[in-house]
């Protein structure tokens, strides 16, 4: 069973309006590269020039912020859910 990735509204033009897509990579970083193969252009929207996750993008694995896990090295296993969410909200 692959990992489900939830795509936020601002990126759905790239995923043909798909809200949830599937990847088989074993880390968050790997999943982002895999997404780039599936939906060209998505990587530069998520990562900055240094390869770090952009300041205004939050990534969660099973509802936990990857900054509390192992950032892009955070492992993914079958059945995990990864969410990409704009950081600008709330308060």
């Amino acid at each position: 069973m692959p990992t489900k990735v939830r795509i936020p509204t601002p990126l759905r033009k790239l995923t043909n309006n798909e809200e949830v897509v599937e990847v088989t990579s074993t880390t968050v970083g790997g999943a982002i590269s895999e997404l780039q193969g599936l939906y060209p252009g998505i990587k530069e929207r998520l990562l900055d020039d240094t390869g770090a996750v952009r300041r205004f993008v939050n990534v969660y694995v099973n509802e936990e912020d990857i900054r509390f896990l192992q950032n892009q090295q955070t492992p993914l296993k079958d059945g995990d859910e990864m969410s990409i969410i704009p950081a600008i909200a709330g308060g």
Binding site: K13, R54, V57, R67, I85
Partner: protein, 413 residues
């Protein structure tokens, strides 16, 4: 209002319910035509208008006349001489949003803008992710406007705040998790349902409402920008918007260009922004909150980056205070000025005390403290820490015995 504009890349978008730039996820902000505003707005015509936040209407993002929260704002700016003496500063002012209308916090400002704009855009259901004060304001203002409201809060919020939303008939959803989890869920819900989430898809409009607190401070000081302003930080939005309000008044010639410092206040139990500021960083590390100041308990502050920038650019400082110092701050403000603030107010007073003691706000200077919410909403936080009643029978003898024991106690001190 001219367009929505990305703060990062400057790309412009139409004035719809949208808060994120498609290209870099940067926050969208309302752009104005200041040249045009400058022609129509003067001190005199502001002063001729009703004493509400809407007297600065040209600088608030609604298309027509506001229809929600038309009575909000213009809260007292109190000269706090007794507190000034206690904290050791020449001049001190309290911007007292504990008595904002109708729900006793600064959130009435942002909500009146968000809901007025939501109506203009044709929404009939409004929603929010809240740490307590926002849901109260959304619930009350939505009720008065005949809008359906869904408010999302951490399930462990203070009783006072929960009841304060339920009473208006709002759908109150308690999330078993902290605010950052509520926020994440709401970001997902907002992408799925066609609701006006005041602090998600309506955030560009909503957040501008906070500027009115700064406009009022300047006008109430006699069109003068205070040298020091101390502001509590949850997402950091209020701090950045008060800075923006000062900048706009300078740009429009309503206040003169002057050097001012913006200082940020957090609770030690949730201090991602103040910790970063003190370490000289321009980014913060998210934290898991653990503080009695639940209204400030945001571990991943959306505007943390910009709040740090404002403090850096104005030469301001940041500081944080423990739960005990927060309670002490609440008591100090109450005992010196007769103002009962919620925990966030205790944070602001506690941090001001520290900054004055450290000389970061010089003793011979003048400061404004932004007190954002009412203490009646967070009674749980101070119950058991403010003494207790002494019960006697309805007997003069017993009362005099009590006075006598007080005298005896005083004599032994």
């Amino acid at each position: 209002m001219r367009a929505l504009k990305c703060r990062e890349c400057g790309r412009e978008y139409p004035l719809t319910a949208n808060h994120v730039c498609e290209f870099d996820f940067g926050p969208l902000e309302v752009a104005y035509d200041y040249e045009r505003i400058k022609h129509g707005l003067s001190r005199a015509n502001i002063q001729s208008r009703p004493q509400t936040m809407w007297r600065y209407r040209e600088l608030l993002p609604v298309g027509g006349e506001p229809t929600v929260g038309t009575q909000v704002g213009f809260t007292p700016l109190v000269k706090a001489d007794r507190l000034a003496r206690r904290l050791g500063i020449r001049e001190l002012w309290i911007k007292n949003d504990t008595v904002n209308y109708p729900t006793l916090s600064f959130k009435d400002r942002v909500v009146s803008v968000a809901l007025s704009r939501a109506r203009e855009l044709g929404f009939s259901t409004v929603a929010c992710a809240s740490t307590g004060n926002l849901d109260n304001s959304v619930a009350a203002n939505a009720a008065a406007a005949g809008l359906k409201a869904y408010v999302f809060i951490p399930a462990d919020l203070e009783q006072g705040k929960v009841i304060n939303s339920l009473v208006y008939g709002a759908e109150v959803i308690g999330i078993r998790g902290h605010y950052d989890e509520v926020n994440r869920l709401c970001a997902e819900i907002a992408g799925k349902y066609g609701w006006a989430f005041v602090n998600v898809n309506m955030r560009p409009y909503y957040s501008e409402g906070s500027k009115s607190m700064g406009f009022e401070i300047v006008e109430q000081l006699g069109w003068r920008i205070p040298r020091h302003t101390v502001i509590c930080m949850a997402s950091g939005s209020l701090l950045t918007k008060i800075h923006k309000s000062y900048q706009e008044f300078i740009k429009l010639g309503l206040a003169s260009q002057t050097e001012y410092l913006i200082h940020g206040a957090q609770a030690t139990g949730c201090s991602p922004i103040s910790t970063a500021q003190k370490a000289g960083l321009d980014f913060f590390k998210p934290v898991k909150p653990n503080t009695i100041a639940k209204s400030l308990a945001i571990g991943t502050p959306a505007d943390g980056f910009y709040a740090l920038k404002v403090m850096r650019e104005t030469g301001g400082a940041a500081e944080d205070v423990t739960d005990d110092e927060i309670r002490e701050g609440i008591k100090l403000l109450a005992e010196c000025e007769g103002i009962f603030a919620e925990t966030a107010g205790g944070v602001t007073v506690g941090v001001a005390k520290k900054l004055i003691a450290a000389g970061k706000i010089p003793a011979d200077d003048s400061a404004v403290l932004c007190v954002t919410g009412n203490g009646l909403k967070t009674l749980d936080a101070v119950a058991g820490h403010v003494g207790q009643t002494r019960d006697i029978r309805p007997s003069l003898r017993e009362f005099e015995a009590l006075l006598e024991s007080d005298g005896a106690l005083a004599a032994t001190r």
